[in-house]
Amino acid sequence: MYKSKILPWFFLLPILIFVTVFLFYPFGVNIYNSLFNFTSILDQNPSFSGITNYLNLFGDSTFVTSFTNTLILIALVLIFQVGLALILALLVSVIDRFASVFKVTFFLPIVISATALGLMFNLFYDYDFGMLNQLMIQLGQEKIFWMDPVNIIRRFMLTMGPVLWQYVGFYFVIFLTALNGISSEINDAAAIDGATGIQKSLFIKIPMIQNVTRTVFVLAITGTLKVFDLPHVISPGGFPNGELHLLGTYMYEKAFNSNQLGVAAAFAVIIAFAGVLFSGISNLIFKNNEEI
């Protein structure tokens, strides 16, 4: 397209400089900082601690809990969030009327602030003033303590449910765009051969968007590793007793509440490497199909 090879570089260089200065360099500094103990953010002479911060983290039961919770959330995201997005996209891709209404409806939660959503769900769940219990009273039922910390599984699901719900629309749009890219001739040929809607979805559409699904999985995994705001608002501090911490919320606690900046830096390194590792595993399982 360009006769000169300089012009593309001219436009690429600023963003490369930007990413180097604001991403690669800070990440390098972060790895370096993870080997030190800081008494405060202004500590000019932090003491070298080697890999102690990493060892302390792996020996910390709340870190293990937060890691386990994050893995469970990744599984839930892949099954329910991505799965639901795919089903909705398959359904919307075959309707002719009101498709735009569904697109907007499913996408809307993404544009709402996660903090606002968290506060909204808090108002749903609250025992004394919550919408769910107002509904129970209207139905002549006893109030339920929805967020009872003793019932930890229910509390986990009620905390993570909004996380799953909020980003369905994001993957829905990606899947829908991919589905719309499938040639209508293939669909028509399948219809002539007598394929049902479900058969077309299972044997034509889903296989043909395999490469997009692979990308969605990587986005979902890396996105889940960073989840912070909604759980932070709904179950602050991983309440109860840090049992509902995710990697993102526990790292925040270490950095901003406990003032353990070296440990928080080690935490960030672990999250970054976990992202690379899990994405690599996902790519190994779901290989790129170059024939599509």
Partner: protein
Amino acid sequence: MKKIILSSLALLFVFSLAACGSGASEEVDELRTVSMFGGTDPNASVYQDIISQFEADYGVTVNDTSATSNEIWKTSVVSSFYSGTEPDVLFFFTGATAAPFVENDMVVSIEEIRQEYPDYASNISENVMDPYAVPIKGFVEGVFVNTELFTGDLESYLDKDVWSWQDFNDIADELISRDIIPFAFGAEDVPHYWIEHLVLGFNGPDAFFNIPEPGSFGGQTATADGEKWVEALSMLNELADKGWFGDTRGNQKNEIANQLFKTGQAAMILDGSWFAGGIEGTSVDPDKTIMVPFPAIPESEGGMNKYYMQSGFTSGFYITRQAWEDEAKRELAVNFISEMTKTESIVAYAELGGIPSDPSAVVDNLNGISVSMNGMPARTDTATLPLSDASAAGSFTELVKKSAAYLEGSTDEIIEALESFANLN
């Protein structure tokens, strides 16, 4: 043509870089300020009014970036010193929170300022003055009581200045029998006051400054002092079992707990004087609200019939070293703080609740709760800084994060939390 486009882009790039550089120069008629009087803080309007008047009187622009205080805000203010983008004047916490920039000589001491400006903050009581920060008002913590719910047998308690631990138990029993929650408590995010007051009530004020060594709380190396701390925190479970915190046992957010008090569903709430500012306009009448001190808990080291109060002047105005060394800024910063802390300003702040730092500040037309809060020192035996301020920075979080374990009465987790806390002190 291509050469023209390339040359234009190159020039644009160079100019944009130059523009970044030129932005670094500061105008001397501008003062950059930061405070915690942002968002819905009741003090924000007074603070902004004084800024507007200051701008008009001195012909300068005050570039104020105040925000509601939380952990991220505190860290961002401290880290601004690291990046060299600190404000000229800041209203910030004293003690451990400010230690990073105080210890690095990044703010100017009152003593140094007074060498050049001898009358600086001379109206402020020396008893409450921090070595670096000029306070405007102090706080007291205690039990807010909605007296309108104290009818029948409970009315007699309103004639007493203080309530003993037994009184609190009797009052709670009576309130529970009337389906009124005795105490609104938000253990999910703000268990701080209960943790601190139970430790205080159980162990006495000296305990805050003699935190037991790690290993003292359980096992073979446990000490009597350490075990008292465990007992104090275990008491939350006992109180929750008695029904003091309602059906949720306090496992709810502070915002909801506040609503329970403000809608009259809960009779009492343990909080600081800043809570008073939010009572106005709710179904609770500020004139019919009082504050009573938290009592010592019998059979404890605290002793019988003793009443303690967490209070202090733990925030104030600082001048940064960077502003002080800029001669044009120096006087502006001093004038700004002088306007903010003059007697009239302190009266305006104190009208919203709190103890004025200026002894000559007389606040007229105080509502009932403000009168009651101002009378707290006379009704208590000892005042102390809160445990969160008396302990090392970041350590109190170790106690806060296990609040559910205290309510459940899990001794192992209580000991684990106390060990983590003691390790950081």
